[in-house]
């Protein structure tokens, strides 16, 4: 590497952040303009990206008392105590899947359409799902309704792809507990339904109709 093009990172960041006096600023600018592509330019590009990122993102430690509360939360957990304000987490079990029904000769499916129906049951309510293939693309629409026993709607529905894990959708139901998620890829997912009182986790599901 040409030593003439080597500029310390400190100088570069000072230059970018406007800490340099005008003459030094101009001199460094000239060097950067005339330098051949080098590590300096790579450093400069990295620093510019870093500074742009720092404008978009906040990253802070929580107050010290939060760490203390988390420590206590662990002790309570070990002692078998349920901390206050923790949501009840329940798992839902699949009770019906139209795709698993035996095909009976001459008997139409229950829906009479290409959609797949699933029903889940949990301690806090039932969930009905429908998976409908879209005719124009290799994607599906997932719509459904949550019948919660003791909960005011709306509820929140989060759909996660399982491999790799990433969020596909996060929506709120309407006042009847209904929701629709269009344009979903055909993939393995898990669904989590939450309210102020509970979180229902559905077993992994493959989004095929």
């Amino acid at each position: 590497m040409n030593n003439k093009t080597q500029i310390p990172l400190e100088k570069l960041i000072d230059w970018l952040e406007g800490w340099l006096p005008a003459d030094e600023y101009a001199a460094l600018y000239k060097r950067l303009q005339t330098a051949v592509p080098s590590q300096v330019h790579a450093d400069l590009a990295w620093l510019q990206s870093f500074l742009a990122l720092s404008q978009e993102i906040t990253l802070s430690e929580p107050p010290a008392h939060v760490s203390e509360q988390l420590r206590q939360q662990f002790q309570d957990h070990l002692a078998g105590q349920r901390p206050p304000n923790i949501l009840q987490r329940v798992a839902a079990a699949l009770t019906f899947d139209s795709a698993r029904r035996p095909a009976l000769a001459g008997v139409r499916g229950s829906t009479g359409s290409a959609s797949r129906q699933l029903v889940y049951s949990a301690d806090v309510g039932d969930i009905a799902l429908n998976i409908l293939p879209q005719s124009t693309s290799h994607r599906v629409t997932l719509y459904g309704q949550i019948f919660a026993d003791h909960e005011a709607y709306p509820l929140h529905v989060q759909l996660l792809q399982t491999d790799p894990v990433r969020e596909l959708a996060l929506v709120t139901t309407d006042e009847l507990g209904e929701f629709t998620l269009p344009e979903l890829p055909v993939t393995a997912v898990s669904l989590i339904i939450s309210s102020h009182q509970f979180e229902i986790t559905l077993p992994p599901l493959h989004l095929t109709a």
């Binding site: 310390p8 990172l9 400190e10 960041i13 000072d14 800490w19 450093d43 990295w46 620093l47 990206s49 870093f50 500074l51 742009a52 990122l53 720092s54 978009e56 993102i57 906040t58 990253l59 802070s60 430690e61 929580p62 107050p63 008392h65 939060v66 760490s67 509360q69 988390l70 420590r71 939360q73 662990f74 002790q75 957990h77 070990l78 901390p83 304000n85 923790i86 949501l87 987490r89 709306p154 929140h156 989060q158 996660l160 894990v165 990433r166 969020e167 996060l170 929506v171 709120t172 989590i192 939450s194 102020h196 979180e199």
Partner: protein
């Protein structure tokens, strides 16, 4: 610092030091998810407690392939979103006032959260003083003047510049070793 799977196994055995390591590694990430989605410091603190509470209840559901940072972001986002919706309902005069997407969350969200996790991982590899310096200079909710940063870190104002460059060089080294770019 141990890997996440080792820490989770130790937590299952009731090891409080393992729990503290998980908290130290990720509480900043969870808190920052809530802040970046527009919550106040107090509400973001609540989200930290809720999210880590759910983590405690979920310790037995993980396996060796666990990606704890991504999992915590997902849980924190869900509960931040729920809290925001509740606030919006309280102030909305018309149901149509409710918005479907959190505004800060609508711009290429997956990339944003991946970046936050990547950055947090890089900061975790710095010594505490470097980490605090860079967070105060570049990622604080409100930008701080050098004099305030110097006071907080008990450091002469004149040494902030050189230290900043040294810490940035280390962070750059850690981040460029990870499979992720800006």
């Amino acid at each position: 610092m141990h890997d996440d799977w080792t820490l989770i196994q130790a937590c299952r055995r009731g090891d409080p030091l393992a729990w503290e390591q998980i908290v130290a590694k990720y509480q900043r990430l969870v808190y920052s998810v809530a802040l970046n989605l527009g919550l106040t410091n107090d509400d973001a603190s609540d989200i930290v407690q809720i999210t880590f509470g759910i983590l405690l209840q979920s310790l037995h559901s993980f396996d060796e392939n666990v990606r704890l940072g991504g999992w915590l972001i997902t849980v924190a986002r869900r509960h931040t979103w729920r809290l925001r919706q509740r606030y919006q309902r309280e102030i909305a005069h018309d149901p149509d006032d409710l918005i479907e997407q959190a505004p800060h969350d609508s711009h290429n969200p997956f990339q944003q959260w991946d970046t936050l996790e990547w950055l947090n991982d890089g900061l975790n590899l710095l010594d505490p003083r470097c980490r605090e310096l860079l967070m105060l200079l570049y990622f604080a909710k409100e930008p701080l003047p050098y004099s305030d940063v110097a006071q907080r870190l008990n450091m002469p104002v004149g040494s902030i510049g050189p230290n900043r460059a040294r810490c940035l060089a280390r962070l750059k080294q850690h981040l460029t070793q990870k499979p992720r770019s800006f």
